[in-house]
Amino acid sequence: MSVAKHFSRKYLREEVLPTPFCPGCFNGVVMNAMFKAMEELGIEDLRNFVFVSGIGCSSWIPNPLIRADSLHTLHGRAVAVATGVKLANPRLNVVVIGGDGDLVAIGGNHLLHAARRNMDLLVVMVNNMVYAMTRGQLAPTTPLGFRTATTPYGNFEPPINVAKLLINTNANYVARWCVSNFHKLKQSFKEALSEVSKGFRFIEVVAPCITYVVRYEGKTPGQKIKELREACVEVKSISEIDDVERRGKIAVGVFKKELKPGYVELYESYASRAREASQK
């Protein structure tokens, strides 16, 4: 009896399956959305892609799972390494996949400055709301009141709204979706890999940790998806974000979409100015 292979397998290293993720982990949804986008874009293999990740559960998505060049770097440093890769070989599509702790806490400075530079990277932030790999500590994205290993009496630190923060930088593309918005998330991946293929592109995926969030709440993954579906409100303009969030909902959507030249393009014109100046 033969079983049809899942479409995503062509992008994966068969030999390392199964994945290292907990049963029900939403990382699989993120991967599937990205792979589906790639398939629909006609990307057959990933030889022109380089995936860079840091430390954390979602940092294991590319390395070693994805059949592509990948660098599994230090905690927080993925964006910096990715910047080096992109500048040294601008031909490559460089994708960073990481968690909220990795990209925003320990790596927050790199994220901010890559966005400021409109660095030609696609950064995918899997927001699982906690530090999961280290067993459920407070993250900068943990909601208020949430109990974690390091806030056993309930979180009192207001969380950061990363997507909203990045809207105010030079980033070309900022989107946020929940794992319950599979189709829209896939569309965002497609946009960030084709239509807006330059500059800094940021996709946040709200994907609560199955072990340290969902199970703590006593819910099943299915219940959580249903809950997220109800909690997510798609906004058409950024002016609606605050209003949605005031109502305790999660604003999702494409918050920003521009086609400004990315860093690589700007550097090229800078370099030609440098060459002209030296010829004089």
């Binding site: 390395n63 060049d69 770097t73 080096g84 890769v85 400075n109």
Partner: protein
């Protein structure tokens, strides 16, 4: 051959460019910034990449990324930045990433005296990273050597797939001297695996670095700072994988000591007095050697150009006859640990330690220490 009047920092930059450096990421810090200024001016017009990073953590990690993407990459910094870059260096060691890092030493710890020369980072250069590791450390004593050793550092980095430290100091960095520039430097291309079956992280002979697959050419290389097998797959549990990897990485440097260890010996073979030194202090030491010998003292100077890996045999041999060993250092005593380890037991070891204020160790102080007055 072109002769130029260059500061040590300019000489480092010239050396890097001569060695084919085409990527520089750095963060401003005294007294190394002029290296960055030079690269900022030169790289864009030569088709290379220059980026001012948001901090030193970013700088070293950008260099790592660039190196994997095929660039000959470097950064330059000083004490506080060198501290921040240690983590990245550890990653570069573990992933066998060629890169050159210049540390222009200033007086620390912390902010210390940013504009004043020191040699306090010797042990940090050797031991700064956590875990078992070793990387080559080269210490110039003049702008000429800053130029030559930067070229050398790139060659070593590429051949052994390792980070290499060039340990300069503020005196060398800001002092201007005559530097002979080479017309042409051989830039061998990086060895790639013959095909994806050749392991990028394993080598039957630990002295030979495995080939390095560049990104974007279909090798589907897996790079990780976690313990990995010879194909890059993470193995964070087994003893064998970890021991084999880390031992090979250390042996790669240690077993190449004959190739890597450079030193200079001057003076009498059967010297009673030996001066052991490195870096800019060696200049005073050379004059001190001449002063001692002109007074009829049988004396020699052992200058370490390569600090790590240290060739114990050479140091032991060169210090065999010495009854008195003077170790002048612009710190409170670091090189002296290895001298104590390698000198004969009955020798008198005299430290000359002076650091801060931009005041060098003078020849007379070394002579005085050699002739009796211990400090």
């Amino acid at each position: 051959m072109v002769r130029a009047l260059l500061s040590g920092n300019e000489a480092v930059a010239e050396g890097a460019l001569a060695a084919g450096c085409n990527f520089f990421a750095g963060y401003p810090i005294t007294p190394s910034s002029e290296i960055m200024h030079y690269m900022a001016r030169e790289l864009p017009k030569r088709g290379g990449s220059f980026i001012q990073a948001e901090d030193e953590l970013a700088a070293i990690n950008m260099v790592i990324g660039a190196s994997w993407a095929g660039a000959r990459a470097m950064t330059a910094t000083s004490g506080p930045g060198f501290s921040l870059m240690q983590e990245g260096l550890g990653y570069a060691i573990m992933t066998e990433t060629p890169l050159v890092i210049v540390n222009v030493m200033r007086a620390g710890p912390a902010t210390g005296q940013a504009t004043k020369a020191a040699q306090g980072d010797l042990m940090q250069a050797r031991w700064g990273r956590h875990g078992d590791q070793m990387i080559p450390v080269l210490a110039p004593s003049s702008p000429q050597e800053a130029y030559d050793l930067t070229i050398e550092a790139f060659a070593i980095a590429e051949e052994l797939r390792t980070p290499v430290v060039v340990l300069s100091d503020e005196f060398i960095a800001h002092g201007r001297e005559v530097v002979e520039l080479r017309e042409k430097v051989e830039i061998p291309s990086r060895r790639k695996p013959r095909d994806p079956s050749e392991p990028p992280f394993g080598s039957p002979d630990p002295r030979i670095a495995p080939p390095m697959p560049p990104l974007g050419e279909g090798y589907y290389v897996i790079v990780t700072g976690s313990t990995h097998n010879e194909y890059g797959y993470r193995d964070v549990h087994s003893f064998e994988t970890h021991f084999r990897l880390v031992k090979r990485l250390v042996d790669k440097i240690r077993l190449n000591v004959d190739k890597l260890f450079r030193y200079e010996v001057l003076g009498d073979d059967d010297a009673e007095v030996a001066i052991v030194c490195f870096g800019s202090v060696s200049r005073s030491a050379k004059q001190a050697l001449r002063m001692l010998r002109s007074r009829g003292v049988r004396a020699k100077l052992l200058r370490l150009v390569t600090l790590w890996p240290m060739n114990d045999e050479v140091v032991r041999r060169e210090l065999r006859s010495a009854k008195t060993i003077v170790v002048p250092e612009m710190n409170l005593g670091q090189l002296i640990y290895d001298v104590q380890r390698l000198a004969r037991e009955d020798s008198r070891i005299v430290a000359v330690n002076k650091v801060g204020g931009g005041i060098p160790i003078y020849p007379s102080e070394i002579v005085e220490a050699a002739l009796g007055g211990s400090r």
